[in-house]
Amino acid sequence: MRERHRAGRRSSGGRSSLIIDFHVHPGFSASREGQRDQLERILRDARYHHVDRVCISALADLSQSPTPEQVRQSNDSALDLMSNYPEEVIGLCYVNPLYPDEALQEIDRCLEAGMAGIKLLIACKASDERVDPIAARAAELRLPILQHAWYKRDGQSENESTPADVAALAARHPKTMIVMAHLTGGGERGLADIAPYENVSVDTSGSEPEAGITEMAVRKLGAHRIVFGTDAPGRGYGAALGKVLGARLSPREKALILGQNAARLLSGRLEP
């Protein structure tokens, strides 16, 4: 296979292109060893595609509402993985907004230990006011929040955010940097919801590589508000990178999406 289809340094005429994967979950495995094995498989493909950094968040057991202890254990496993791959892995601190005091303490603990952002999943909707203390703290610390969101035809979990919930959070916290997960999951409606809020970006993960979705996101939001993400290991690098590399976008727009925007969001916490 020729090199030129691949991303990164070897594929863009010799130009250096920073690639950051903003959305990785190294395993829901109970054991640390299992998570390490899974992260190693993720990094194998990431390295093949010249991905420089991956942002991981460990999500306990995908519980609707994990206890503070479960959250802490999850973050400990992410910190463990970060320590194994300090050059490649960035940690996002997973918290449950339903335990606000513990969540704030956990953010401080994980930030101190080297994490660079916050991950919110499905414990409560992003529009819920119980997210406010976390959003305010994120703004204060200049930490991006990666917030899960999806418009599902069926099967939306009770507390699973839609992009409209993300928009509501963004409206209340205009200084908080929010990355809404799952561009394809939110689709056209999702883009319309978040378009007015400049503090919201979207990651390219979610579902299958439906053609045109990345170009649409650039038209609706601007390339400066899109960050590359895979949702690995459930989704792979080939399919995910195809959404950017196969899109009809300029090299500058692709470079922003692949890594420069994420680097800006993580600025100050990402080693050069």
Binding site: K152, G185, S207, R235, G236
Partner: protein, 257 residues
Amino acid sequence: MKMDAAAYLGAWPFRSVEGTIRGLLAAMRELEVGHALVSPMPALFYMDPEPANDELLRRLRGRPALWAAPVVNLRLANAGRYVEQLAQHPQVRAVRLAPGFHGYPAAQVGDTLRALADHDLAAVIQLRVQDERSHPPTSFIPPVAIEEVIALAESVPAARVVVAAPRQGEVEDSARAERIRALQNLWLDISHLDGVGSIRRAREAVGVERLLFATCWPFFYARSALLKVEEAELPAQETERVMGGNAAQAFRLRADQ
């Protein structure tokens, strides 16, 4: 020979897709894929797919690198005669059957498989196109169960059956994978396989000889399929099989045709 086993022309009703012959040829050039098996996308939604198939065959005329997989709706009483008619066309190498779109049970395909085998045509059986979570509110198209397609291939050994758009989990289930490995007349297109190491894992589950390079262009970015194969870093001989060698067997193709 490199071949895309799942490309389409025409419109998708719920959002804009490129779907032009020019766009297809450009995508093939970009991927350095010389051949494609092409179906008409609107035919998935037409009760009578014939007008869309006619349009497809007109578009493909004079383009020997492109083979056709017209869509047949088995709910139509004349489907058998229509298959015979399609079999006479020199560019038709397969028929695409979409039970989920047209609303008939996959089990109904058995007789048609025998007819297709008699005419030396492969059957491509569509499990899905779009992620079911994202179907439009007015139109849910149920996926076809891969077990039913495996059972069909088992029941008609003379038929050549391609499973279109299986997901990773559907392929990796150990019981199913064992049945797929045992079949010499069943292939899987890779368009919807996804996950870290997707092609390596599919190869381990069902064997490299069962996998067909397929993009699902213009519904998907074509580049995604190629990157999935590349990242697998298979031995060269296996890559050649996935990229076209297996398709040549499944569709009885020669690069000089």
